[in-house]
Amino acid sequence: MFEPVLTRNIHRPNSEKIYTYLAHGGYEAVRLALKKSPEELIDMVKRSGLRGRGGAGFPAGKKWEYMPKDPRIPKIVAVNTDEGEPGTFKDRELVERDPHQVIEGVIIASYTVGARRAYVYIRGEFFLGVKRWIKAIADAYEHGFLGKNILGSGFDLEMSVHRGAGAYICGEETAMLESLEGKPGNPRLKPPYPAQVGLFGLPTLVHNIETLACIPHIILRGPEWFASIGTAESKGPKIFSVSGHVNKPGNYELPLGTTLREIIYEHAGGIRGGKKLKAVIPGGASTPVLTAEHLDVPMAFETLAAVGSQLGTGAIIVMDETTCMVEVARRLTKFFAHESCGRCVPCRLGSRRLYEILERIECGQGKPADLNLALELAQGIDGTTFCPMGSALVNPARSTIKQFREEYEYHLTYKRCLAGNTHSG
C-alpha cells in the first residue's frame, strides 16, 4: 500500500493550521535546506527526477539551474495556483488543506535560486484558497519562516498573494506574469523565458504548487527515495484528480505510473451504475481522449505520450457508455474558444469556428464535409499559435474524431446521438 506523501496531512483536523503542520514535522526541510549550498540543493532536485506538475512536465532541477547565478541580479519565484484546466482540482486541495507544505517548498526554491521575493498567483474563484494562503503566509512570517533573516540564516524572503480575475490563460506562465504585473493576461513571446526575463523584467522561477509541495519531501527523505517511486521518466508521487462517471470522484495520491485501470476501478470505485467505460481524458481537458483499450496504460509522461495523449495535470475525466463524444468535444471546445485571450488569429478565430462546426454536428445540422473541415481546421491551429493554447484547444475535437469517428458519422447521417444523450449547455 502506497503511503501518501503530498496529501499525508490533509485528512487531519485543522490540517491547514501552522501548528498542525509543525506538529507533523513541518518546516524541518527548510531548516535542513538552509544549511546546504544552492548547488547541493539543485543537485538533489535534479537527482530526484522531479518534473513539473503544472502540465508541461519540464524537469524542475533544470529550470532551477537556468536561473542566473549572479547574486546582484534580483530574482523572483512565482507560484502558480491558477488551476483552470477543466478536470483538475488538486492544487485547490493543497492550498486549502496544507498550504504550509507549499510555502516550505517556496522557501527552499527561493533560497536555492537566490530569490528574495515570491508571488503567489491564485485563481480568483478560489475564495477559501485565498483566505488560507493569506493566513498561512501571515503565520509563516510570525514563526520566522518568512521575512528577514529566516531562521537566523541571513536569507530574506517576502511573499504575497495576488488573485486572478477569471481567465484560464492566466495559468500559462507568461500570461500569469503579465497578470501579476497588473496587465491583461496575454502570453508573452518566448524566448526570453521567465528564467531570463520574468516578472517586472527580473529572472523568475515559475512553478505549479504541486511541484513545490514535492520539494520538502525530497530534502527530508532524499532524492533517491523520491526517484524510487514512479517509472523510468516520471518520478515521485502524483495527485490524480478523478472526476466523471465514477463512484468515488476525488483526489488520489499515487505513484506516477499507476495504471488508469487501478486508479479508476480500485481507488475511484469503478464506473457509476456498473456501466461500461467508454472514454477517459487522462490529464485535463486539453489532453487527447483515450478509450477503454488504454486502461492498462500507466499514468506517466512517457507512457501516455506513447499512446498519443499527455499526462498534463493528471486530471482523469471518466466517461461511461452513455456519453456522447461529439457533445464532449463541443463543450470542451466551447470552453477553449471562450478562454482564448484573442492575441493571435488561429486561436481567436479558429477556436470559434471549430466550436461552431461541432455545435452544428451535435445539433444535427452538420454537413458531410464538416468532419474533414474540423480536422483541417485543427491542423491549421495546432502549432501555428502564439502560445501552447492552440495545440491544446484542438485536442478534444481531434482526439474524439480519431477515436470515435463513427459517432460523428452517425450524427451526420441520422441527425442525432448514437449514445442517446441529449444535448445541453
Binding site: 471562450h338 484573442g342 478565430l349 470559434r352 464535409a369 473541415l373 491549421g380 501555428t384
Partner: protein, 843 residues
C-alpha cells in the same frame, strides 16, 4: 548596435543583413515578400497575427567542436523546425535557411487569411481602405478563393464607433493586430487606446477624455492594415483609386514634413479638383513616415470660401474688386513714387522664390525689407546650423541633444518624436525649460531656469566647462556652480555629436538673438558644429523662417518706428494689425498680399489675392536647413496668383528684372546669388533615393499607406563652417529682466491647435483648440485673488485682453502663460496687470 553581418538563405537567395534583423526584414531587403499584418518595420515585433509563418532551418552544430556539421557534399547540414516560425519575431542567424514558398507555408497563410475573413465583414465596396488594403491585397495573393465557413456566424458590431471626434473605428473590420495600440504606446507615448475584453470579443477602446487624445492619432489610420480606423476628415470621402497624388510639404511648422495631397475631381465641388486628404510621404531624414494631426487636418484653410478671389482697391473708402491690370499698375506707380520710402514686410510663410522676388523688388526701388517674426537667431543658424548630411535618426548612444525654451511637443511634434526616439536609442537628452514639458520624461538632465535666463543658463554651462569665465549678469552669475548645470554641460561637451534645439518661449525678439548666440558659443566651444549630426536647430514658428534668413531677410529691432517712417508698406503673408491692434499702421499707401482679408488687409489701399501652397509650387527651408520643394496639387483659383508671380509682375512694370512664371527659374537665380544655395535646382530637390523601410503603394501591408517618396527628399544647405568660413565666439549682451511693476510676467506659449487665421478653417479641430485662457500657479492666483474659471482682464502696456483663468501647478511663480493665436494680442513676454471681471461660480 553591432556591425556584425549575418548571411542566410531565403528561398534559395543568399542575403546578408546586420545581426539583429528579423527574417521578414531580411527577406524584404532581398526583394522577397513575407506577408505580415501585425508586424510593422517601425515597431517591435509581437508575433500576434501569425501571417508571417515560414519554415526555418538552422545549421547543426557539433556540440564538441562548436563547428557546423557538414553533409557529404560539403554543404551545411540543416535541421528544420517541425513547426513554422514567425518571421517577424525570429532573428536571422548565420547559415539559416528560410523557406517562404513551400506548401506548408502557403497552407498556413491560407488558413490565417481564411480565419480572418470568417470574422471580417468584407464590405470592401464601401470601405475607405478598399483599393489600398493589405487584407485585400494579401488575400488576393495568398488567400483562399472561397470560404469554407458560414457567413451567418459573423459578428455584427458597431461600424461607426468614434474613438474620438477625429478617428472612427469600424469594430467589424478590426483584425486586432494591435498596430494602432503599439504605435500610441511605443512611438508617441500616448497610450490612450487599448484592447478591452478577450478572445473573439477583443475590441479597441479609448480611455482618454477627449477620446483618442493624441496629436499623432491620424498615423494609426495609415498603419491600420484594414479599414478599421478612418479619419473623420476622409471617411467615405472617396475611393483610393480615384485619387491623384501630389507631393507637398507641410506648412504648419518648421519641421517641414513631407506630404502627399490626394486630390479628386468632384461633382459635389462643381466639377472642380479638390483635396480629399493629406497623407505623410516618406522622408527618413525629416518625418520618416509620420505627420502630426495638425499637418493632416490643418489644410482646410486652402479651400476656404472666405479666401480672397480678386484684387481689391480702396475707392471712396471701400475695397472694391478691380482687374489685375489696374491693381498692379496702381501699386507699381505708388511704389515707384515711394522709392526709398517703401517698406516690405513679409513672413516665413512664403516660399524662397516669393521672398527672393520680394527682396529684389524692394532693393530695386531702394526700399527696406523686414522679416515679420518674433524670434531671431537665423544668422547663428546659418553659421552653425545642423550640418549638411545630418539625420536626427542617427543620434543615439554617445550623443547629446539640448532643447531649450521650446515645448517641442506643441511647437514641432515630429521633432519631439524624433528627439524622444534619439533619447530612447541612448542619446543624452537635456531639456532646459522654465516649466515641465512632455519631453522631460525622456531627459537625463532637466534644467529649470527663470524666463529671461535662457541665454544666461547656456553661458553658465559654458563657464562651468572652462577656466576662463566671462562675467555674467548677477541673476545668472552663480549658475555655473550648480551641480545639475555642470553635469548637463559635461554630458553635452563629452558627447560625440550634439544638437541644440532653441525656441522662443519666454524670449523676445532681442533676447532670442542672445539665446542663439549663446547656443552658437556652446556648440563651437565644445566642437559640435560644422560636422554632420551636430549643430543648431531653430524652432521657428513658420515653415520658411529659415529660408527668409538665408535670403537676406532680417527682423527690424524697432518695427514700429520703421512703419511710421515708411511712405508705402507692402505687407505679404503676415497680419501685423491683427496680431497687435495698437500698431500704428497708417502709411500713405498700404498694400496687403495674402489669402484672406486680414485685419491688416482691411486697412489696406490695395489687396492682392495670393495662392496657397496647394495651388502652386515653391520651396522652403526647414529648421534643419533642408530645402524642400512642394508641387501644385489642385488648379489655382482663377484670379489669385502666386506671390512670386505677383511680385515678379510688379517688377516688370517697374523695370526690375524678375522671374514671374516659373518657380524653378527663380531658384536658378537664388542659386547663382546665394552661396549656400549654390548648385540647388528643382531637379536636385527632386532627387529621391531608396529608403528603408520600403513603403508605398505596392507594399501596403508592410508599412501602411504612407506614400513612397518619388518626388524628392530635398537638399540640406551647408553651414558657414562647412563652406570654409570662420565663425567666432562673440559674447551676447544679455537683455535686462523685464520690469513687471507689481504685475506678473505674461509669457506667450505656442499650442498646437490654436485659433489662428489659418487653423480656424479646420472645423474638425474645434474641440481641441486652445481658447483665450491664462494659466497661473494656484499660489499666484490666490495672491491675485483669481479663482479657476474666472474671467480676467489683462492689461499689457496699451494692449488689453480678456482670458479665463486656469490654475496650473506647472506654471512658474510670478508668471502667467497665455496661448498664442488665441485672440490675445501678446507677441513677446511683457508685464501684465490682472483684474478679475467675472467670478466663476461653476464649482
Amino acid at each position: 548596435m553591432t556591425n556584425k553581418m549575418i548571411t542566410l538563405t531565403i528561398d534559395g537567395i543568399q542575403v546578408t543583413v546586420p545581426e539583429g534583423t528579423n527574417i521578414v526584414d531580411a527577406a524584404k531587403k532581398a526583394g522577397i515578400d513575407i506577408p505580415v499584418f501585425c508586424y510593422h518595420p517601425k515597431m517591435k515585433p509581437v508575433g500576434m497575427c501569425r501571417m508571417c509563418l515560414v519554415e526555418v532551418g538552422r545549421p547543426v552544430v557539433d556540440r564538441n567542436t562548436g563547428e557546423f556539421v557538414r553533409n557529404e557534399d560539403g554543404s551545411l547540414k540543416i535541421q528544420f523546425n517541425p513547426k513554422l516560425e514567425t518571421g517577424c519575431t525570429t532573428l536571422v542567424s548565420e547559415g539559416m535557411v528560410v523557406i517562404n514558398t513551400s506548401d506548408k507555408v502557403k497552407r498556413g497563410r491560407k488558413d490565417i487569411l481564411e480565419f480572418l475573413l470568417t470574422s471580417h465583414p468584407l464590405d470592401c465596396p464601401i470601405c475607405d481602405k478598399g483599393g489600398e488594403c493589405p487584407l485585400q491585397n494579401l488575400t488576393m495573393a495568398h488567400g483562399p478563393g472561397t470560404s469554407r465557413f458560414l457567413f451567418d456566424e459573423k459578428k455584427h458590431l458597431l461600424k461607426h464607433y468614434p474613438l474620438g471626434e477625429l478617428i472612427y473605428l469600424d469594430q467589424e473590420r478590426c483584425i486586432q493586430c494591435g498596430r494602432c495600440i503599439r504605435f500610441q504606446e511605443e512611438l508617441v507615448d500616448d497610450p490612450v487606446i487599448g484592447f478591452s475584453q478577450r478572445g473573439r470579443s477583443l475590441q479597441i477602446v479609448t480611455f482618454s477624455e477627449p477620446g483618442f487624445d493624441s496629436i499623432f492619432s491620424g498615423n494609426t489610420t495609415d498603419i491600420c492594415p484594414v479599414g478599421a480606423l478612418t479619419t473623420a476628415d476622409f471617411r467615405f470621402g472617396a475611393r483610393p483609386w480615384e485619387l491623384n497624388a501630389a507631393a507637398s510639404i507641410c506648412q504648419q511648422c518648421a519641421v517641414g514634413c513631407n506630404l502627399t495631397l490626394n486630390v479628386r475631381r468632384e461633382a459635389a465641388a462643381g466639377g472642380k479638383v479638390v483635396i480629399k486628404r493629406v497623407m505623410p510621404r516618406q522622408n527618413e531624414w525629416v518625418n520618416e513616415i509620420w505627420i502630426c494631426d495638425k499637418g493632416r487636418f490643418g489644410y482646410h484653410y486652402t479651400e476656404a470660401p472666405e479666401r480672397l478671389t480678386q484684387p481689391l482697391i480702396r475707392k471712396e473708402g471701400e475695397l472694391v474688386p478691380v482687374s489685375w491690370e489696374e491693381a498692379l499698375g496702381f501699386v507699381a506707380e505708388r511704389f515707384r513714387q515711394a522709392g526709398k520710402g517703401l517698406l516690405t514686410l513679409a513672413s516665413g510663410r512664403l516660399s524662397n522664390e516669393d521672398l527672393f522676388n520680394l527682396r529684389k523688388l524692394s532693393e530695386g526701388l531702394g526700399g527696406k525689407i523686414a522679416l515679420y517674426t518674433q524670434m531671431s537667431g537665423g544668422e547663428q543658424v546659418m553659421q552653425v546650423g545642423l550640418a549638411k548630411e545630418s539625420n536626427l535618426a542617427e543620434l543615439g548612444q554617445g550623443d547629446a541633444i539640448l532643447v531649450i525654451a521650446s515645448d517641442l511637443h506643441q511647437e514641432a511634434p515630429i521633432w519631439w518624436l524624433r528627439v524622444k526616439q534619439a533619447a530612447e536609442r541612448g542619446a543624452t537628452l537635456i531639456v532646459a525649460h522654465p516649466r515641465p514639458t512632455r519631453l522631460e520624461k525622456f531627459a537625463k538632465h532637466v534644467l529649470r531656469y527663470r524666463y529671461g535666463d535662457e541665454a544666461g543658463l547656456l553661458l553658465a554651462m559654458l563657464n562651468s566647462l572652462s577656466a576662463k569665465r566671462p562675467a555674467l549678469p548677477e541673476r545668472v552669475s552663480t549658475l555655473w556652480r550648480d551641480d545639475q548645470v555642470q553635469a548637463a554641460a559635461k554630458a553635452f561637451a563629452e558627447a560625440q555629436n550634439a544638437v541644440i534645439f532653441f525656441g522662443n518661449e519666454g524670449v523676445g525678439l532681442q533676447a532670442s538673438q542672445a539665446l542663439a548666440q549663446a547656443c552658437l558659443n556652446l556648440l563651437l566651444a565644445t566642437n559640435h558644429a560644422g560636422r554632420p549630426n551636430n549643430g543648431l536647430i531653430p524652432v521657428w514658428q513658420r515653415p520658411n523662417d529659415q529660408g527668409a534668413w538665408e535670403l537676406g531677410w532680417r527682423p527690424l529691432p524697432n518695427l514700429d518706428e520703421a512703419i511710421s517712417q515708411a511712405n508705402a508698406i507692402y505687407v505679404v503673408a503676415c497680419d501685423p494689425a491683427g496680431d497687435n491692434p495698437t500698431l500704428p499702421l497708417t502709411p500713405d499707401f498700404l498694400v496687403v498680399q495674402d489669402l484672406f482679408l486680414t485685419a491688416t488687409a482691411k486697412l489696406a489701399h490695395v489687396v492682392l489675392p495670393a495662392l496657397p501652397f496647394t495651388e502652386r509650387e515653391g520651396s522652403l527651408v526647414n529648421g534643419e536647413r533642408r530645402v524642400q520643394r512642394y508641387y501644385p496639387a489642385v488648379p489655382p483659383r482663377p484670379s489669385a496668383r502666386a506671390d512670386f508671380t505677383i511680385t515678379g509682375q510688379l517688377g516688370k512694370l517697374l523695370g526690375i528684372d524678375l522671374e514671374d512664371r516659373l518657380a524653378s527659374k527663380v531658384m536658378l537665380r537664388i542659386a547663382a546669388e546665394v552661396p549656400a544655395f549654390s548648385g540647388i535646382t528643382y531637379t536636385a530637390l527632386a532627387y529621391a533615393p531608396e529608403q528603408w523601410p520600403i513603403i508605398g503603394r505596392e507594399d501596403l501591408y508592410y508599412g501602411g499607406t504612407t506614400y513612397e517618396n518619388k518626388q524628392g527628399i530635398g537638399v540640406q544647405l551647408p553651414n558657414a563652417l562647412q563652406q570654409g568660413e570662420q565663425v567666432t565666439l562673440t559674447w551676447p549682451s544679455l537683455a535686462q529682466a523685464t520690469e513687471i511693476n507689481g504685475g506678473l510676467l505674461a509669457v506667450p506659449v505656442t499650442k498646437l491647435y490654436d485659433s489662428g487665421s489659418t487653423l480656424v478653417h479646420s472645423k474638425l479641430l474645434d474641440q481641441r483648440r486652445v481658447a483665450a485662457v491664462l494659466w497661473i500657479h494656484p499660489d499666484e492666483a490666490a495672491a491675485h485673488a483669481v479663482q479657476e474659471g474666472d474671467l480676467v482682464h489683462l492689461q499689457f502696456g496699451e494692449a488689453s485682453a480678456m482670458a479665463t483663468a486656469i490654475l496650473d501647478k506647472t506654471v512658474p511663480q510670478g508668471v502667467i502663460l497665455l496661448p498664442r493665436s488665441a485672440g490675445i494680442p501678446l507677441l513677446e513676454p511683457c508685464a501684465a496687470q490682472l483684474k478679475v471681471v467675472e467670478r466663476s461660480y461653476e464649482r
